[in-house]
Structures are given as structure tokens and as C-alpha cells.
């Protein structure tokens, strides 16, 4: 009897380890996470507008139907990216996600404080290579460090009323994420 109780306890303890291991491993093995869902429709380093979610079809679950959205699936292995997002009339935000869909940075139109949100996205190693004096002269450039080489940028513009949806869609469609072909220059 004691033996079975001990085995049960041992099994439960081992079960706890199995539980923790599966929870930690799951994000690495998930085949239907947001990044995987976007891979077939979003080419690398390009802004792709996503269709407005409807009951029949939505790229991802839990999308906000009041927003026009676009994504840029990025790969920084060949150099930093430059992101420009025109601000829509209502509310515009840019959120950055890692390869495993973890948000590491977000900015909205008011925080950016301009008509156009302009950002440079680079890894920590690429940031170190930016000359220091350049960084000072280019203080108006916002630099975002990505913790991973690959990830997602979600650009979202709100349509507070259905009639404002076309304007929001135009704003996200006019966004660009481009690889920096030349070293960033300071603006005078």
C-alpha cells in the first residue's frame, strides 16, 4: 500500500516537471502561432495590409475590428530596417514583437509627436556599430533595439467610426519598412 502511495507521489512530482517542461517548450513547437499564420501572406521586410477581420475570416483570433492593421515581418540579418508610418486622423500605434509573438516595444502617434512615426529597428550589435556622434546629431531618430533577428511589426490605425475606416486603411497601407541600403546620415 505504502509503495503505491509513494509511486503515486513520485509520479505526481514527475508530472509537475512534465508540466513545466511542456509549457516552456510549447512556444517553440507551436505551428499556428501569429508569426506562423502571417508567414504565408507576409514577405520579409515588406509592409502587408491585413484584411479587416470578419466572422468568416480573420488572420488571427482576437483582432480588433475597429482597427486597420498591417504587419512587417522583419529579418535584420542583413542590416537595420527603417520604418515610416504616416499618422491616421484618430489613433495610430506601432508594436514590435519577437519571433515568438512577445511584445517588446510599442509607440503611438501621441508619444511620437509627429505627423509621421519614423523609427530605426536594429539589433543590439548593430546599434553598437552606429557611430556615436551620428547618434547625437540624429537625435530626432528613434532607435528601437530588437532582441531577436526576426520578428513582427504590427502597424495599427483606429477607425473610431466605420466611415473612417478607409482613411485608417490608407494610413497603414502607406507605411514602409525598408532595409537601410546606406549608412544612416544625420539630417541638417
Amino acid at each position: 500500500m505504502i509503495r503505491w502511495v509513494l509511486l503515486l507521489l513520485g509520479g505526481a512530482l514527475l508530472g509537475g516537471i512534465v508540466h513545466l517542461a511542456t509549457v516552456i517548450i510549447l512556444p517553440r513547437t507551436a505551428t499556428q502561432d501569429a508569426y506562423a499564420r502571417l508567414t504565408p501572406i507576409a514577405p520579409v521586410n515588406t509592409v502587408v495590409a491585413l484584411p479587416i477581420p470578419s466572422p468568416e475570416k480573420a488572420v488571427m483570433p482576437f483582432m480588433d475590428p475597429a482597427f486597420a492593421s498591417a504587419v512587417c515581418r522583419y529579418d535584420l540579418s542583413e542590416g537595420p530596417l527603417k520604418l515610416t508610418v504616416p499618422v491616421s486622423p484618430a489613433y495610430t500605434s506601432v508594436s514590435f514583437y519577437t519571433r515568438h509573438d512577445i511584445a517588446y516595444y510599442a509607440i503611438n502617434d501621441r508619444a511620437a509627436g509627429r505627423r509621421v512615426i519614423e523609427l530605426d529597428l536594429m539589433t543590439a550589435a548593430q546599434h553598437e556599430q552606429v557611430p556615436e556622434d551620428e547618434e547625437i546629431t540624429a537625435a530626432d531618430r528613434l532607435i528601437v533595439e530588437s532582441p531577436t533577428l526576426m520578428g513582427l511589426i504590427a502597424i495599427r490605425a483606429m477607425a473610431p467610426e466605420p466611415g473612417l475606416m478607409p482613411a485608417a486603411q490608407n494610413a497603414v497601407a502607406a507605411s514602409r519598412c525598408l532595409r537601410q541600403t546606406e549608412p544612416p546620415r544625420s539630417r541638417k
Binding site: G16, H19, F67
Partner: protein
């Protein structure tokens, strides 16, 4: 033989307990750092790099992109203030005000996170669309049939959830439930 059956028994228990707990945790959407306010719950940390392993697993399993904390906070309600699960065949009333935010949206989803088809293609409200009373309070009625005022169609489905997203708000990781974060009261008015 005894050793073999014993080992197999312990391993079977481990598999059952381990996978069972994982399944349970993920279907319930468990994560640390929950911010419960009345019937509403938010997980502000899930929208940051400090998301715990449970939040990460849940994000990967559902396939959603969480609302980043610098963007906003999303509150979910699955049961009314009396603990009754939200039923699309009933009339559910949301009444009150929301915490301060530049904009907010309220959206109705089925348990999988899909929108519900309805005759007027309305899936939620934004803070700009709501008809308010003179004191700023509002009342939203989620019901299967048309209602005067702010009607949110449920399509008559058995279970649904409401997600209130606050955009550009001070509500976040350091928020404590209290007077400065008033959430709308959720009550079931009538059920067929």
C-alpha cells in the same frame, strides 16, 4: 515485475498529471500578474517582455498577437457580476464608465476569439460610437434581438466573451484595482 509495473504506474501518473495540468492551464488562459477589476480581468504583463511562460504558451497556442503595453491594455469578461457565464440568448447589460483612456473599444468574441456574424455587421463599439447619458455613463445591451440604444448583437450563441481594450491609457502593470479604474458593471437582465 514489481519494479516494472511500479515504474509504468509512476510514469503513467506523471504523463496524466503533467499534460493534464498543461492542458488545463492553457485552456483556462492562466498566467501570473492578473489584474482583476470586478468581473473583468487584464494581464498587462502579457504585453511585455516580462510575459511569464504560461502567458507565452497561451499566446503561442491561440495564435493571437497580444496588445503591447505601450499601446493599450485589454480586459476580458466571461461571466457577469454574479458569476453567471455570458449567454448569447440572454440580455446582458454593461453599465457605467471605463478608466481614463484616449480611446477604447469593446468587442464580442466567441470562446475561440472569432467575431460573431449578425445582420447589421456590428462586432463591437468604440468609445466614439457610444450613446451616453448626460452624466457620461453609458449602457450597452448585448442581446440576440435588436434593442434601442447601444445594441451589441450576440447572434444567439451560447457562450461569448467581451474584450474591452483601452488605448493610450495609464492603466498598466502598476495599476491596483480601486476607484481610479472603474469598470462597467455586467449583469444578466433577462433570459428566455
Amino acid at each position: 515485475m514489481r519494479l516494472l509495473t511500479g515504474t509504468l504506474f509512476a510514469l503513467a501518473v506523471a504523463t496524466f498529471v503533467g499534460l493534464g495540468m498543461t492542458y488545463f492551464a492553457l485552456t483556462r488562459g492562466a498566467a501570473f500578474g492578473a489584474l482583476p477589476i470586478d468581473s473583468w480581468t487584464a494581464w498587462p504583463k502579457t504585453g511585455t517582455v516580462e510575459a511569464d511562460p504560461y502567458a507565452r504558451a497561451s499566446i503561442a497556442r491561440t495564435g493571437r498577437l497580444p496588445v503591447a503595453l505601450g499601446d493599450g491594455v485589454s480586459f476580458t469578461v466571461q461571466a457577469d457580476d454574479n458569476g453567471k457565464p455570458l449567454d448569447g440568448r440572454c440580455e446582458v447589460v454593461l453599465a457605467g464608465i471605463t478608466p481614463a483612456a484616449r480611446y477604447w473599444t469593446l468587442t464580442l468574441y466567441n470562446p475561440n476569439g472569432d467575431l460573431i456574424a449578425n445582420s447589421i455587421n456590428r462586432y463591437g463599439f468604440t468609445s466614439e460610437e457610444i450613446v451616453r447619458r448626460a452624466d457620461g455613463n453609458f449602457e450597452i445591451v448585448a442581446a440576440p434581438r435588436a434593442n434601442p440604444g447601444n445594441w451589441l448583437p450576440t447572434g444567439g450563441i451560447e457562450r461569448y466573451q467581451l474584450v474591452l481594450r483601452l488605448y493610450d491609457t495609464a492603466v498598466g502593470v502598476s495599476t491596483k484595482a480601486g476607484r481610479e479604474v472603474p469598470m462597467p458593471a455586467v449583469s444578466t437582465r433577462s433570459c428566455p
